[in-house]
C-alpha cells in the first residue's frame, strides 16, 4: 500500500456570501480496498466531503485544499469538468440517498445502466445488453430481464437503490461512495441493501466510503470510522476502538445517545450531556441493574440542564419504580380497557370523475386490540403497513369501513361530531415531522393554545396554561411570542408535545415523533416523553418503524404488516421469542450497536 486510494488534505468549503466555512480543514485518507464509514449528524458536512471527492460540489460553494485519487492526476477540486467526467464512474462512483429522484423518470432502467457503460467505452458495444443483464443480476434484482425495460416509477425504493448500485459499479471503480444509501428505506429492505453493498464491494475489490448518521449501520459495513461534527473531523479509528473506547466527547455522546438499550441511573436514555456515564455498547449489560439497585446516588451527577433540570427534583424516578406502576392498570383493568378495537377494516377507493379506473386499496383488515388505562403500547410497522390509517381512525379523523372502535365511552366509528370533539379532548397526537406539523405563520402561543380555543377558554387562561405547558417541556415563556422557524427540530417537537398535552388528555398518540430527529436530539425528546407520560399518567400509543425506540418506551407491542396485525404481546415476549417469521426478520434487521459490533467481530 504505497499509495492511498483517496487522500483529502485540508479541505475547506465556504458558501458564496457566507461568513465562515461549513467545512474546516478536513483531512482523511483511504487505502485501496479499505471500507471507511463517515459518520455525523445533519449539518456535519459529511455529504459535502463526499461530493468534493466526486467533483460534484454545487457551484455556489468554494472549496480549497486538495483531493487526490489514485489513477487521477492532479487535484480533483481544481480539475476541469471534462477531466472529472472521465474520472467519475471509472475511478470513483456514488450511490445517493434518495432512490426516488436519483434516476431519470423518463428513461428505461436498462438504458440508464447501459449509458454508464457506453460513456466510458470500455465495454464492446454489442456486449452492452448482456453486461446490463449481468449487472442487474449481480444486485439480485428480481426478474432482471424485465427490469431492463421498466421505468423507475414502476419500481420500489429498494429496487431503485439496487439499480443505483448497478450503475455505480458498472465500470468497476476503485472507490464506491455511498451517501446515506439506506436512510430512505425500510429496515428490512435496509438490511438487504447493506448486505448487498458489502457483497458487491468485496466482489469488485473496491474501496468504500460509507456516509451515514446511523452508527449501528456503519459498524456492520466498515472497518474504520471517521466521526464528523459541524464541519470538522473529531475522531478517527477502527470500528472496535470507536465503539468501545471513544476518545472525543462528541463521539461518546453520539454513541451513548444512539444506544437505545442503555439507560443511565435514572432509567433515562443517555444524551450528549450525560454520556460520561455511558459504558459502551458491550459494557451496558452490567451497568443498568447496578444503577437500578442504587438509584439515588447518581442524581447529583446528573447534569442535564436542557432535558430535565426544570422538573428534575420533582420527578426523580427510576424505571424500576415506574414500570410496575405503568403495568398495574393493565393487569387489574382488563375487564374495561380504555381503548377497544374490534374487526376494523378500511378500504380506500380511488375516485375519478369520468372514465378513470376505480382501484381499491385495502389499508386495514380485521384489526383488533385493547389498551388499558396507563398502558404503553407500541405499534410497529414499515411503510404501507397501515399504521397511519389506524391512527387516523383512532383519533376520529377517518372512519373505518367496517368494525368497531371504542375510546373511553365514545364509539368512534358512529360518533356524532360533538362526541368526536370530546374524544379529541381526551386523545391528542404528536406528529412525525416537526417541520411540517407547526403552522409556519402562527406564533408558538397560538399553536399551543389551539386545542384550548375549541374549548371556548378565555385568552388569559389559555395563555397561562400555554406558559405552564411550555415550562413542562423545558421551553421558557419567551418562546411564546416566536415563530416555529426560529426553533430547532428538537425544540419544535417539544412545542408539538406541549400542544398535545395542553388539554390534559388521558391518551397520547405519538406518530413517529423522533424519526425525523438527529440521534442526539432523539434521546432528549424520548426522555421528555417518558417523563411526561409518567407525570400526567398518560396512556401512550407509540407508532414507529423503529423497533429500538419502541422497545425502550413501551410495555406492549403490536407488529403490523400490509394492514394486518402480525403479532402482539408484551415487549419482552416479542423480543425474546417472536413467533412470526416477519417479526423475527424485523428484529434481525433492526440495527443495534451491540449486534453490529458483535457481528463485526
Amino acid at each position: 500500500m504505497a499509495e492511498n486510494l483517496l487522500e483529502v488534505r485540508d479541505l475547506t468549503i465556504t458558501p458564496a456570501g457566507a461568513d465562515g466555512p461549513v467545512l474546516k480543514d478536513v483531512s482523511l485518507s483511504l487505502a485501496p480496498g479499505e471500507r471507511v464509514g463517515l459518520i455525523g449528524e445533519s449539518g456535519s458536512g459529511k455529504s459535502l466531503t463526499a461530493q468534493s471527492v466526486m467533483g460534484l460540489l454545487p457551484e455556489e460553494l468554494r472549496a480549497t485544499g486538495t483531493v487526490s485519487l489514485a489513477g487521477f492526476s492532479g487535484n480533483v477540486l481544481e480539475a476541469k469538468e471534462r477531466t472529472l467526467a472521465r474520472m467519475r464512474s471509472d475511478i470513483v462512483s456514488m450511490v445517493f440517498q434518495e432512490p426516488m429522484s436519483a434516476l431519470n423518470p423518463l428513461m428505461r432502467i436498462g438504458d440508464q445502466i447501459a449509458e454508464a457503460l457506453r460513456i466510458h467505452g470500455s465495454t464492446d458495444r454489442r456486449a452492452v445488453p448482456g453486461r446490463v443483464l449481468e449487472l442487474l443480476t449481480s444486485v439480485h434484482m428480481p426478474d432482471p430481464e424485465g427490469a431492463r425495460y421498466a421505468y423507475p416509477h414502476q419500481m420500489s425504493g429498494g429496487q431503485r437503490q439496487r439499480v443505483m448500485l448497478a450503475i455505480a459499479l458498472a465500470n468497476t471503480p476503485r472507490l464506491l461512495i455511498c451517501d446515506e444509501p439506506t436512510t430512505a428505506l425500510d429496515v428490512t429492505v435496509q438490511k438487504h441493501m447493506l448486505d448487498l453493498i458489502a457483497e458487491r464491494v468485496a466482489a469488485v475489490e473496491a474501496g468504500l466510503l460509507f456516509i451515514t448518521h446511523d452508527l449501528a449501520v456503519v459498524a456492520g459495513v466498515c472497518d474504520r470510522v471517521i466521526v464528523m461534527n459541524s464541519g470538522r473531523i473529531v475522531e478517527t479509528g477502527s470500528v472496535h476502538d470507536i465503539f468501545t473506547n471513544p476518545q472525543h466527547e462528541y463521539t461518546r455522546g453520539l454513541l451513548a445517545s444512539s444506544d437505545l438499550e442503555a439507560t443511565d441511573a435514572n432509567g433515562k436514555l443517555f444524551t450528549l450531556k450525560t454520556a460520561l456515564a455511558y459504558a459502551g455498547p458491550l459494557g451496558e449489560a452490567g451497568s443498568p441493574p447496578e444503577a437500578g439497585t442504587n438509584p439515588d446516588e447518581n442524581v447529583d451527577a446528573d447534569v442535564e440542564p436542557t432535558t430535565a433540570s426544570a422538573g428534575e427534583s420533582g420527578r426523580v424516578r427510576t424505571r424500576a419504580v415506574d414500570s410496575p406502576r405503568a403495568r398495574e392498570p393493565e393487569l387489574t383493568g382488563q375487564s374495561a380497557p380504555l381503548i377497544e378495537v374490534t374487526g376494523v377494516s378500511k378500504l380506500y377507493k380511488a375516485r375519478g370523475l369520468t372514465l378513470r379506473r376505480r382501484s381499491e386499496v385495502q389499508a386495514l383488515e380485521d384489526i383488533g386490540f385493547r389498551v388499558s388505562a396507563g398502558q404503553r403500547l407500541g405499534i410497529v410497522g414499515e411503510s404501507g403497513s397501515g399504521k397511519s390509517t389506524l391512527l387516523n381512525i383512532l383519533s376520529g379523523l377517518d372512519r373505518p369501513t367496517t368494525g368497531h372502535v371504542r375510546v373511553g365511552d365514545v364509539r368512534v366509528e358512529s360518533a356524532s361530531a360533538s362526541a368526536l370533539r370530546s374524544l379529541r379532548e381526551n386523545l391528542q397526537i404528536v406528529f412525525q415531522d416537526p417541520f411540517a406539523s407547526l403552522d409556519p405563520r402562527m406564533r408558538v402561543e397560538d399553536i399551543v393554545s389551539e386545542p384550548l380555543i375549541a374549548r371556548g377558554m378565555g385568552r388569559d387562561e389559555r395563555l397561562s396554561r400555554v406558559e405552564e405547558m411550555l415550562l413542562a417541556v423545558d421551553l421558557d415563556s419567551a418562546a411564546m411570542r416566536r415563530y416555529p422557524h426560529q426553533f430547532s427540530g428538537g425544540q419544535r417537537q417539544r412545542i408539538s408535545i406541549a400542544r398535545a398535552l395542553v388539554t390534559r388528555p388521558q391518551i397520547l398518540i405519538a406518530d413517529e415523533p423522533v424519526s425525523a430527529l438527529d440521534v442526539s436530539v432523539r434521546a432528549q425528546v424520548l426522555n421528555l416523553l417518558t417523563d411526561l407520560v409518567d407525570d400526567y399518567a398518560l396512556t401512550l400509543l407509540f407508532v414507529s418503524h423503529d423497533l429500538g425506540v419502541v422497545q425502550h418506551l413501551c410495555s406492549d407491542i403490536i407488529v403490523m404488516k400490509d394492514g394486518h396485525i402480525v403479532e402482539s404481546g408484551t415487549t419482552e415476549d416479542i423480543y425474546a421469542n417472536p413467533r412470526e417469521e416477519y417479526t423475527q426478520r424485523l428484529i434481525a434487521a433492526t440495527p443495534s450497536l451491540a449486534g453490529a459490533l458483535a457481528s463485526a467481530g
Binding site: S47, S156, A454
Partner: protein, 343 residues
C-alpha cells in the same frame, strides 16, 4: 395583451395544474420554481418500501421583515412611479387634457411640452398622466374582481374535495374554471364590447372575469397543500372546525401566492386594456388612455415617431414594474424556494 399565457384547461392528472400562475413569469421567477414534470401528479406508484426521508432543512427560510431583492426593488419603484403619476394628475397637470392648441400641433419635446403634443396640439405629458389613471383603475377593478371571486372559488373547491360527498362539487367547480380558460381576456372583452357598448367598464369586467381561473387555480393548489399538511391534521385533532381552519391556517399560508398572482394579473390587465383601447374597443374618446394614444399615433409614424414613444414606454414600464414586483414577491413567498439544500 395577447402575449400572456394563461393557464390552460384540463383535469386532475394534468401537469398543467402544477404551473403556479397564469401570468407571464409564473414559472419564470428569478431562479425558477416550478417543474411540473418533477411533481407530475398521478405518478405516485405505490412506494411500499420507502418512508419519508430524513429532512434536515425544510422551512429554514429566514422570515425577516423585508427581505429585499433587486426585482422587488425595481418593480416597486416603477409601480410607485405609475401610481404617483396618476395621483398627481388629480391635483395638477401641465395643461388641461382637452385643451386644443392648433398652433402647437405635433410638436416634439420642448420646455413647454416635455413629451411634445399630439395632432390637436394637446400636451402629451398631461395625457400620459391621465392615462395612468385609467390603466390603474382597470388593473385595480379587474384584479379586484378576479381576486375576490377566484380565491374563494379555489379555496372552496379544495375544501370540498376533501370529503367523499363533496369531491364532485370541487371537480365541477374546477372544470367550469377550465372552460372559462378557453376564453382569453381579449376574446372575452371583444364579446362584451359586441354585446354591450365598447367602453372601459365592460373591458374591466371582461378582463377581471378572464383572470378568475388564475386565482382559483393558485388558491386551490395552495389550499390543497395546506390541507394536506400535518399542521392542519393537528388543528383537526385539536377540534378546530373547517371554517376556523380555512381562516386561520389556509388563508395566511396562501396569502403570499395570491399576492404574487395579483401582481402578475395586474400586468396582464394593463396589457389587455391597452390592447382593447388600441382596437377602439376599450376606453373611448375623449378619455385619455395609453392604448388609444398609441393607436392614434400610428398615422404619424413616419413623421412623428415620438408620439408612439411615450405611451408605448409607459405601458412597458407599468407592465415591467408589476411583473418584476411579482417576481420579487414570488422569491420571498414561494414555498418551493425554501425547501432546497440538503447537507
Amino acid at each position: 395583451m395577447s402575449q400572456n399565457p394563461s393557464p390552460a384547461s384540463s383535469g386532475e392528472t394534468n401537469p398543467r395544474n402544477v404551473v403556479t400562475a397564469d401570468g407571464i413569469p409564473a414559472a419564470a421567477s428569478a431562479e425558477g420554481t416550478t417543474a411540473p414534470g418533477t411533481t407530475a401528479p398521478g405518478t405516485a406508484a405505490p412506494e411500499a418500501a420507502v418512508r419519508p426521508s430524513r429532512r434536515t432543512g425544510v422551512d429554514q427560510r429566514k422570515r425577516t421583515l423585508l427581505r429585499l431583492n433587486a426585482s422587488m426593488v425595481i418593480g416597486a419603484v416603477l409601480v410607485i412611479l405609475i401610481f404617483a403619476l396618476a395621483l398627481v394628475s388629480f391635483l395638477w397637470t401641465p395643461y388641461d387634457p382637452s385643451a386644443v392648441d392648433p398652433v402647437a400641433r405635433l410638436q416634439s419635446s420642448s420646455l413647454e411640452h416635455p413629451f411634445g403634443t399630439d395632432m390637436f396640439g394637446r400636451d402629451t405629458l398631461t395625457w400620459v398622466m391621465y392615462g395612468a389613471r385609467i390603466t390603474l383603475m382597470v388593473g385595480i377593478v379587474a384584479v379586484g374582481i378576479a381576486l375576490l371571486i377566484g380565491t374563494p372559488i379555489g379555496v372552496i373547491a379544495a375544501l370540498f374535495a376533501q370529503y367523499p360527498w363533496g369531491a364532485w362539487i370541487g371537480a365541477v367547480i374546477m372544470r367550469a374554471n377550465d372552460i372559462l380558460l378557453a376564453f382569453p381576456a381579449l376574446l372575452l372583452a371583444i364579446i362584451f364590447a359586441a354585446v354591450y357598448q365598447p367602453g372601459t367598464g365592460p373591458a374591466m369586467v371582461a378582463v377581471g372575469i378572464a383572470a378568475i381561473p388564475g386565482f382559483a387555480r393558485v388558491a386551490r393548489s395552495g389550499t390543497m397543500q395546506v390541507l394536506g399538511s400535518e399542521y392542519v391534521r393537528a388543528a383537526r385533532a385539536s377540534n378546530r372546525r373547517v371554517p376556523a381552519i380555512a381562516l386561520f391556517h389556509v388563508l395566511p399560508n396562501i396569502a403570499g401566492m395570491v399576492i404574487v398572482q395579483a401582481s402578475v394579473a395586474f400586468a396582464i390587465s394593463i396589457l389587455a386594456e391597452a390592447g382593447l383601447s388600441f382596437l377602439g374597443l376599450g376606453t373611448q374618446a375623449p378619455v385619455p388612455s395609453w392604448g388609444r394614444m398609441l393607436q392614434e399615433s400610428q398615422q404619424f409614424l413616419s413623421t412623428h415617431p415620438g408620439l408612439a414613444l411615450w405611451p408605448g414606454l409607459f405601458i412597458a414600464l407599468a407592465v415591467l414594474g408589476f411583473n418584476l414586483l411579482g417576481d420579487g414577491l414570488r422569491d420571498r413567498f414561494d414555498p418551493k424556494m425554501e425547501a432546497r439544500g440538503n447537507g
